[in-house]
């Protein structure tokens, strides 16, 4: 058996699933006009699947900050944080993140994915236990595997199951790291964080919250779900990304434990990869200022969420359980979902098509993500288009 033989099944699946036309998993955005519009397959489209929750990719002050640094400091750092890849901007951003969260320490990584890989696999090791939500992001699963810790999964958002699992650990629960997400990336539902924090306290465990999709979105100051439900003091480690609300690329971990700083010596994904470019760091610093100083963006975002979620609900679509900037439409089969995705694109709207195992519970999803930058007119057009196509999308074959 040759090395590449196992790819044959993937090739076959691709051929049967995608006999012709555009491949939904290899979309090229040929032109990008704004944070909500671009060109795909020769056509101008509304972008409604880009995680650009505050629309900051085109924020004038973020662009200006990046442009200035690009001219002054060049295109890249060409080195890892541990060697030559820490410029003054990287350090400044860490201080600003720590201040933003009211935490002792913050570490900046190159992406959110490698933040999880590095932080989780350094914090937990053989002899420790990680208790993770079943719907956790791939980077969390991979990190757990890398860590060598015992890996225990609890049913998504199921507090009875989480408690059962913590109780069964006995004394080991004080070496257990519970990992959950603020807003779950596929269905847009929130973790029941107040209950999770109470269980963490009760069993003397540790708590990490991945606020990738909730930072900038939830909480009075945009710090995420922990701020929104008032349990920040119970969270030991917060991880997040610069690639969603902050409109760039990179990741971070913050903690109330000053020991976090030691992870700089142990995280392989910090030590052995190049740091974010200086211009990226400048745009993120500016975006963080915007998140703090412009709460009206969050107000606008949630108005848009209400318009989209309620509108789709009224049209009779089966959605994720809670209104959130991620609005997932459940479709009955893979074929229907693919058909719907193409039909929507032809009408000038881009959303994400998500199949299992990326989608939880065997679901086939059209995943929309909404932005503060979407106009009411764009959302009305999205709603009108989905309503028109609904009979075709959901009818039995």
């Amino acid at each position: 058996m040759g090395l590449l033989d196992k790819l044959v099944t993937i090739a076959t699946t691709r051929e049967t699933l995608l006999p012709e036309g555009i491949d939904p998993f290899n979309v090229v955005i040929e032109e990008i006009y704004s944070s909500t519009e671009g060109q795909i397959d020769g056509q101008r489209v509304i972008l409604a699947g880009t995680n650009n929750y505050l629309g900051l990719t085109f924020h004038p002050s973020c662009i200006e900050a990046a442009r200035k640094t690009l001219l002054e400091e060049g295109t890249g750092t060409t080195g890892s944080r541990m060697a030559n890849g820490t410029f003054s901007g990287h350090s400044a951003l860490e201080k600003e993140l720590a201040l933003f969260y009211g935490c002792q320490s913050a570490i900046v990584f190159s992406t959110g994915f490698v933040t999880n890989l590095g932080a989780i696999s350094s914090l937990a090791g053989p002899g420790d236990v990680i208790v993770l939500d079943a719907d956790s992001h791939a980077s969390i699963y991979d990190a757990c595997r890398m860590s060598g810790a015992e890996m225990i999964r609890f049913r998504h958002n199921n507090m009875v199951d989480l408690e059962k699992k913590l109780r069964r650990l006995g004394e080991k629960s004080t070496n257990a790291l519970i990992i959950v997400e603020g807003i779950y990336s596929m269905l847009g539902d929130c973790a029941p964080l107040a209950e999770i924090a109470a269980l963490k306290e009760k069993y003397g465990a540790w708590l990490m919250v991945d606020e990738a999709h909730s930072m900038g979105v939830l909480g009075k100051h945009g710090r995420g779900l922990a701020e929104a439900v008032g349990v920040e003091q119970d969270v030991d480690f917060t991880v997040g990304t610069f690639s969603k609300s902050l409109g760039a690329v990179g990741g971070y971990c913050v903690s109330t434990h000053p020991e976090l700083d030691l992870l700089r010596y142990t995280c392989r994904s910090y030590v052995f990869t190049a740091s974010p470019s200086p211009s990226t760091i400048s745009s993120v610093r500016e975006a963080l200022r915007v998140v703090s100083s412009q709460p009206q963006l969050r107000t606008k975002l949630w108005e848009n969420v209400e318009q989209l979620y309620r509108g789709l609900e009224q049209s009779g679509f089966e959605l994720g359980p809670d209104p959130s900037p991620i609005v997932a439409i459940r479709l009955p089969t893979k074929e229907k979902a693919l058909f719907a995705w193409k039909a929507i694109l032809e009408k000038g709207i881009y959303v994400n098509l998500v199949f299992p195992p990326a989608a939880p519970a065997g679901l086939f999803l059209l995943r929309c993500s909404i932005s503060a930058a979407h106009t009411p007119e764009q959302i009305s057009y999205i709603l009108k288009t989905f309503a028109e196509l609904k009979p075709m999308m959901t009818a039995a074959t």
């Binding site: 079943a134 757990c144 015992e150 890996m151 225990i152 999964r153 049913r155 059962k164 699992k165 069964r168 650990l169 299992p356 195992p357 519970a361 065997g362």
Partner: protein
């Protein structure tokens, strides 16, 4: 003693596997969960949730790396439940 415990677990597992398997084949010690019974990761997780409920245990995901056959599975559950 150990054999009978093995057999008891085997019988409970047999019912569960038949319920969740994609392919219906007779279940024996050397039956492979993926190749013979057609389990994919999603079906496997659903089945593991039932196993956890029925035996009142936590099945660590680390054990999945060594789970191939029905015999592996029974021995793993035996070990988790504290048997020989």
């Amino acid at each position: 003693m150990a054999t009978s415990q093995y057999d008891t677990i085997f019988q409970q597992i047999e019912v569960l596997l038949q319920e969740h398997a994609q392919l219906q084949v007779p279940i024996q010690d050397d039956t492979d969960l993926i190749n013979d019974l057609g389990f994919d990761s999603l079906k496997l997780m659903e089945m593991l949730e039932d196993v956890e409920d029925i035996f009142d245990i936590t099945y660590p995901l680390n054990d999945l790396a060594n789970l191939h056959t029905v015999k592996d599975f029974v021995l793993q559950i035996q070990q988790i439940t504290g048997g020989e």
